[in-house]
């Protein structure tokens, strides 16, 4: 089952930090991590990333891995330079005050799929844009 970023916003009570970017894009699954090489190794295109990191490398990682967007957890302050890079790279940034655990839990409960290697989410949304 696919979910779009508007639904993610409402499930994790997120603020939209990149209002100019399209949130109707479909998310295929989600991955929570603070290790960026893990994100590069274990996500698929159109994965939603939940992370406690808020540096430029998160956005670069999302760009290379073709992620659907980033949720920054625990309400951290984000630099304008990160948002500028995110807009240039077309990576929507959401921010929630919830912890990583609660954010992931709410999304999982709402039907978001984990980013596993099996073909659970084979209904086209995993295919590259």
């Amino acid at each position: 089952m696919g979910m779009n970023l508007y639904e993610v916003v409402s499930i994790v009570d997120a603020e939209i930090l990149t209002p100019t970017l399209d949130l109707s894009r479909e998310v295929c699954c989600a991955y929570g991590a603070d290790l960026l090489s893990d994100v590069l190794a274990f996500t698929r295109p159109r994965t939603l990333l939940l992370t406690g990191l808020f540096n430029l490398q998160v956005v670069r990682t999302a760009e290379m891995a073709e992620l659907a967007g980033i949720v920054i957890v625990r309400g951290k302050t984000v630099d304008q330079s990160l948002l500028d890079l995110a807009c240039a790279s077309q990576i929507p940034i959401l921010r929630t005050k919830l912890t990583m655990f609660e954010s992931c839990g709410r999304l999982y409960k709402a039907g978001m799929l984990p980013c596993s290697k099996d073909e659970e989410c084979a209904d086209n949304v995993c295919r590259p844009l």
């Binding site: 290790l35 590069l40 540096n55 990682t61 760009e63 073709e66 590259p128």
Partner: protein, 145 residues
């Protein structure tokens, strides 16, 4: 050797975390402009990004060279660092010599070279006698990994 359709060099500065990832981003844009398929672009972009971060973190900066050939896409990352003393260890998932500062930004988990190996069809790593490391990566065209 096949003819080179395109060759571009990107310079990478040591510890420049403001621009780290720019070279890989530029590589990605070149490949998209050439119209390569998205899964292939993603594999090359991830390999380029990991190699670039290695040059920023460990390699004292260096050069990332992209070559598009008829039969493959080649990336060569040539750095100015101390070289890799134990290649077998460096290829092992989880082995890292990165500092705590690097770990704080989300790298240094010991997944860089294994990640590159996962994305490419050929990976060659050589220490230069005068110092520095040359990492050669190739992704074949016309075949799925």
């Amino acid at each position: 050797m096949s003819a080179v359709l395109c060759k571009k060099e990107f310079y990478v500065k040591k510890f420049d975390f403001q621009h780290a990832g720019k070279a890989a981003s530029d590589v990605r844009k070149v490949l998209m402009d050439y119209g390569f398929e998205q899964p292939l672009v993603r594999r090359v972009a991830i390999a380029a990004y990991e190699a670039e971060m290695n040059m920023v973190i460990h390699g004292q900066g260096g050069t990332l060279t992209l070559e598009i050939n008829f039969d493959c896409i080649q990336l060569v990352a040539e750095d100015n660092g101390p070289g890799i003393s134990d290649l077998r260890l460096a290829m092992q998932e989880g082995f890292s010599t990165a500092s705590d500062e690097i770990r704080e930004i989300g790298f240094g988990a010991g997944m860089g070279l294994p990640n590159i190996n996962r994305c490419v069809d050929f990976l060659g790593i050589a220490n230069k006698p005068e110092g520095g490391t040359v990492v050669t990566m190739r992704v074949n065209l016309g075949g799925e990994k």
